[in-house]
């Protein structure tokens, strides 16, 4: 088992120095994520203009994987449409869970491809997907007072 497959440089870097670790002003969507297994928490806020995510940021605490996943996600979706973001989520999900979805496109994923090693560590998949589930909830405009849980 090669830990470097899991803890790629990109992940260590974003885990230590998360980008967009702030709330955008103004913002009009919010999602909350909580992983009861390990206590990871994130709050994600975004500004949606029409169907474009013009700004996004998060606050929270958790393991390197969960923080890096949130950080790289904010970079990846900023300036994208909602449809693009959901598409990325699908690709990312397949990348880390091998759920039989369409073969992920590494070019589309860009930096997110660094999470490919997570699939080898089943106990860590939820850490990687927490931010994305939270994004999905924020975009759907579900009741933000009920945090999504990755279980």
């Amino acid at each position: 088992m090669d830990l470097r497959e899991l803890y790629q440089e990109v992940i260590l870097d974003h885990g230590k120095n998360p980008r967009n670790f702030r709330f955008p002003e103004p913002s009009n969507r919010e999602g909350q994520g909580y992983n009861p297994l390990c206590g990871d928490r994130i709050t994600l806020r975004l500004q949606l203009d029409g169907d474009v995510i013009t700004d996004v940021g998060f606050q929270g605490s958790g393991c390197a994987i969960s923080q890096a996943a949130a950080s790289t996600m904010t970079e990846a979706i900023k300036g994208r449409t909602v449809a693009d973001a959901e598409l990325l989520f699908g690709q990312f999900h397949t990348l880390v869970t091998d759920d039989g979805g369409p073969e992920p496109n590494m070019d589309t994923l860009g930096k997110l491809a660094a999470f490919a090693g997570v699939g080898e560590f089943p106990m860590r998949v939820k850490c990687a997907t927490l931010a994305w589930h939270t994004l999905h909830q924020a975009l759907e405009g579900d009741d933000a007072s009920a945090p999504v849980k990755t279980e």
Binding site: L37, C38, G39, A64
Partner: protein, 425 residues
């Protein structure tokens, strides 16, 4: 052996019998699960507080039930049922000896500590708690000694009161006493904290509770395997334990309750085996303990738990405790010598648990990295979220000890944590 006895033995020309020496290498050979590699490394099992590994004697006892004495208990005259019933009741006697109850009728078999506490909360609690009454617990309880009380408080209008813990993770007698009032009906406390390893000052807590007119339930899930118990010397009214933390199978545990209380309490669940006679108009309940054992129990699990206790008795519980105490001291030293590691929970009286956090890495990342080195520890809130909140952390990494652990295991943990430093430092 007393000096006088030893003298007498020497005078008679006999060698005084030495106390059984604790030979950890021999003990390790009794636990087949230790003999494996994980991720290509020899397994280092430091998660006994979650569940302990099982000795061959326990595995054989369970296999024996299914391969020979496979029958329901208390129900048939055929020989297999007689053997199964005898094994089951022998386990009850083993638990009685282990906790030193006055009578085997005071031992109720359960699924584990969780069910034991729920039984008391629902049976005794619903019958005895009233609006405005108080249930006193401490700040270091496992969720299973919090939630059952919250449930029964919701049903009866009683209140849950919490005695706080100190920065070191201790429960001070004054803090318990200060919360005992004439409305306190029961005090529910852990013997040992699973998250911090703290050993609570049970005897003075129980005396103070009784002086205030309250009963005491002890959560012995972690205490039973590492400290042992004498319920008569302690004077507690209820004591719950889990067989699987005591080197027995999962799904079997026991609840001790004082006979007079058990006799007064209504049944917890209704069904077969807990009755004397049933008509549609009226059911007469069986005597204790059977009144509380509705339905076909985990027969093999209970018999395995009995075998685990007999294994521990043969080993010498005190020798095992001394071995673990020495390891805990060594482990504390090793962890404290690693820069950036902080131990959470520094009670003066402490057993078997090393909870810690690291500056460089989140506990979950620590868990993954040490697992790759073959070292199994637990990470998370350990079902004690209020404890984590008390120390303003979301989680800890926890190495916990069993009687088969060695200094080499601790060294392996130390090396694995150095790997964490390299990766994240």
């Amino acid at each position: 052996m007393t000096p006088a006895l030893r003298q007498a033995a020497a005078a008679a020309g006999a060698e005084p019998a030495a106390p059984p020496a604790f030979d950890v290498e021999r003990v390790r050979r009794d636990f087949p699960a230790l003999d494996q590699t994980v991720h290509g490394k020899p397994l280092v099992y430091l998660d006994s507080a979650a569940t302990a590994l099982k000795p061959q004697a326990v595995i054989d006892a369970v296999t024996g039930v299914y391969s020979r004495d496979c029958a329901n208990i208390h129900r048939a005259v055929h020989l297999l049922s007689q053997r199964a019933t005898a094994g089951y009741e022998r386990a009850r006697e083993a638990v009685r000896r282990f906790v030193n109850a006055g009578s085997a009728d005071e031992i109720i078999f359960t699924r584990g500590t969780t069910e034991g506490i729920n039984l008391v909360a629902q049976s005794w609690g619903r019958a005895n708690l009233r609006e405005g009454d108080e249930v006193l617990i401490t700040g270091l309880e496992h969720h299973s000694n919090i939630v059952p009380w919250q449930l029964v408080c919701g049903q009866t209008g009683a209140h849950l009161v919490v005695a706080p813990i100190t920065d070191d993770g201790e429960v001070r007698l004054e803090d318990v006493k200060a919360r005992l009032t004439d409305r306190t009906k029961i005090v529910a406390v852990a013997q040992v904290s699973n998250a911090l390893g703290t050993v609570l000052p049970l005897r003075p807590i129980i005396d103070a509770a009784h002086d205030a007119g309250a009963l005491v339930l002890v959560d012995g899930a972690q205490g039973a395997p590492h400290v042992g118990v004498d319920v008569q010397a302690l004077g507690c009214d209820f004591y719950a334990l889990s067989g699987h933390k005591l080197y027995g199978p999962t799904g079997a545990g026991a609840l001790f309750g004082k006979r007079a209380l058990l006799e007064e309490m209504p049944p917890y669940q209704g069904g077969g085996d807990m009755i004397l006679s049933v008509t549609f108009e009226e059911t007469l309940y069986a005597e204790v303990p059977h009144k509380f054992e509705a339905g076909t129990p985990n027969i093999a699990g209970v018999i395995g738990m009995g075998a685990a206790i007999e294994y521990l008795e043969a080993l010498g519980v005190q020798a095992a405790e001394a071995h673990e105490a020495a390891l805990l001291a060594y482990g504390t030293e090793v962890l404290e010598a690693i820069p950036g590691v902080r131990i959470v929970g520094k009670a003066r009286d402490k057993v078997a648990v090393l909870s810690f956090v690291m500056d460089a890495a989140h506990p979950h990342d620590i868990g993954t990295i040490v697992d790759a080195e073959g070292v199994a520890i637990r990470t998370g809130h350990h079902c004690a979220q209020p404890v984590m909140e008390r120390y303003c952390i979301a989680a800890t990494a926890r190495a916990s000890l069993g009687l088969y652990n060695t200094r080499e295991d601790i060294d392996a943990l130390g090396r694995a944590l150095t790997r964490v430093q390299e990766m994240f430092g």
